[in-house]
Symmetry: C2
Subunit: 159 residues, 2 copies
């Protein structure tokens, strides 16, 4: 099913409440970045397989914000946040909350690294309020959503 | 000079890259909250004494953003961020960056606690990317700005 041979590396720092996610893509940095900022592209890959994504707002600019709902037969899951800073083809810093647990907020930094030869490394850093909150997110099956989402992004970038 | 008898408590967590700031005010929670969201009030107290504050934008709503410049005879210091969530009289979650070090972003949560009898406790939590970043902020003299700002807020609330 998947067209990727890439591995996603997910690392929980023992000394700080962070998660680092690193993933390479066989596509130029401009294409990987565009797939993160254009709502019509984002909804084709973000999140695990088997869910639809409805976007209320998705304004990827410095000072912008977003809100979207993932839906499957079992229910609906809404997420929202704001964009602290957006640097084209370089970096996106945003907040992130699952609306079901609105008091738990993470700060996410995505760095887009041009590897040359039309390849890109995406480096994600998620900052949690506590190690407990970080460990709960990992235990919730975050890894599946990340891996399946990036497989869909591979397919989109190859298409 | 100061009209306050309140103490500000600033605590650096040894186990996580956070700073907690706790301060009580002799004013109802609605007044303390309003002093955080109305730009004309904010500019009268935010930051250390001896600086003027120019606001480019200050839209304290969920998904809003801000940018302002503190200025004195020595120079200008610009700060910006986005508002992740604003709950009236309860909670503000925002990002924060000094434009001179744009790669260093903190996530700040302010909780407004109604103590009854027209008194309010403000509980602030700042989350840094690393303990080094947190310690650098503390070493930069953050405490002076916080204390002088809250003394000015006391004066504003009493006025």
């Amino acid at each position: 099913m998947s067209t990727t041979t890439r591995e996603t590396t997910i690392t929980a720092d023992p000394a700080a409440p962070t998660v680092r996610i690193t993933r390479e893509f066989d596509a130029p940095v401009a294409n990987v970045f565009r797939a993160h900022v254009e709502p019509d592209l984002v909804k084709r890959w973000l999140g695990p397989r088997g869910l639809t994504m409805e976007i209320d707002r998705f304004d990827v600019v410095t000072g912008g914000s977003y809100r979207y709902t993932h839906r499957d037969d079992d229910g609906a899951y809404t997420f929202y946040g704001s964009f602290h800073e957006v640097r084209t083809d370089e970096r996106i810093v945003q907040t992130f909350t699952f609306e079901g647990f609105p008091d738990s907020v993470t700060l996410e930094t995505m760095t887009f690294v041009d590897l040359g030869d039309g390849r890109t490394r995406l480096e994600g850093l998620s900052l949690f309020e506590s190690t407990d909150a970080r460990d709960a997110m990992i235990a919730s099956g975050m890894e599946i959503g990340v891996n399946e989402g990036y497989e869909k992004l591979d397919e989109l970038l190859a298409g």
